[in-house]
């Protein structure tokens, strides 16, 4: 019996560890994403410029977005809520609170997505006012060797 209980306890701890690994080492929509802009330059070439806007899509179907003011490193969480994957190329974002646009509190947005590769996400949200799908590019935040340590 002790062995059985230990096995169950081990399963729970393992599930918890994997939930975190899902977020940090995910190759799917789940993950920490940084928004980027694709700027067209001459000769049909384009350049990707990272913005200070981040979206965290957790494994437990919750999400939040934050913005870093790079000049003073002031960081704000702009909105948070939950999401539901509705197909292999669509999901819905249910915003619980939106601090930048309070009119979006308790709103639901339809989203389209496509993983261009494991670390690049093409997303589109539907702009109701202009009746168009607006594209966004997001790059995955990955584990990397920091230069200095805090702990």
């Amino acid at each position: 019996m002790k062995k059985s209980i230990l096995t169950v306890a081990l399963m729970v701890v393992t599930c918890m560890a994997f939930a975190q690994k899902d977020l940090v080492e995910s190759k799917s929509l789940i993950g920490i994403w940084q928004q980027a802009q694709v700027n067209k330059i001459s000769d049909g070439q384009s350049k990707i410029i990272k913005t200070p806007i981040y979206k965290v899509l957790n494994a437990d179907k919750t999400f939040y977005c934050f913005l870093i003011n790079n000049n003073e490193l002031n960081t704000n969480i702009s909105h948070f809520g939950s999401y539901e994957i509705t197909s292999d190329s669509t999901f819905t974002e249910s915003v619980t609170r939106h601090y930048t646009s309070p009119s979006m509190d308790n709103s639901v947005s339809q989203m389209r997505f496509k993983l261009l590769d494991e670390n690049t996400l093409l997303m589109q949200y539907y702009n109701d006012a202009n009746k168009v799908w607006v594209p966004e590019v997001w790059l995955r935040v990955t584990p990397r060797k920091p230069v200095t340590n805090i702990n």
Binding site: I5, V24, I32, N70, L73, I77, S94, R144, N149, I150
Partner: protein, 161 residues
């Protein structure tokens, strides 16, 4: 046979309790709201340096290190490197008293020798949005203080949809 049935029943009961099926589970929306509106260690934290200029008042300057402490007892850190964030380490945490917790590192990006390590940390909530942390530096045999401030829920209008 009866013993086997009893063992099976007990196992199922333990599994149900462990998974939280027996009680009402919070919805995703409730879960993220409690994290975002937390007044405890749970939440998104940004490290700061507390200083005392030679003339004038004490100050707190935010730096580009972040610690995210989730409701499911997992945590990870993010570091600003050249204007973009990278993941520092990830793992789990456990409250051990009202002023201490342990951080268990599953994977440390900078220092792989810390993979699987466990640190005891002391903490004190200065107010709902500021924590004073201390971790023990085993090399220097002393507690190192840190200040963390909660990332606020707000946003300049027009920057995000």
């Amino acid at each position: 046979m009866k013993k086997l049935e009893l063992a099976a029943l007990l196992m199922v009961a333990v599994l149900f309790v462990s998974c939280g099926i027996c009680k009402k589970r919070p919805t995703s929306s409730e879960q993220i709201t409690s994290m975002m509106e937390s007044k405890s260690l749970l939440g998104v934290w940004q490290q700061a340096i507390a200083g005392q200029p030679s003339i004038g008042k004490a100050y707190i300057q935010k730096i580009g290190n972040y610690k995210i402490m989730n409701a499911d007892n997992t945590l990870y850190t993010l570091f600003d490197r050249g204007g973009s964030l990278v993941i520092g380490f990830y793992g789990s945490y456990e409250m051990t008293s009202d002023s201490t917790f342990t951080e268990k590192i599953i994977k440390h990006g900078q220092n792989p020798s810390m993979n699987g390590s466990e640190d005891l940390l002391r903490f004190k909530m200065i107010d709902d949005n500021t924590i004073a942390l201390q971790y023990f530096n085993s090399v220097y045999k002393r507690w190192i203080p840190e200040v963390w401030v909660r990332v606020p829920l707000s946003g300049p209008a027009g920057l995000l949809r």
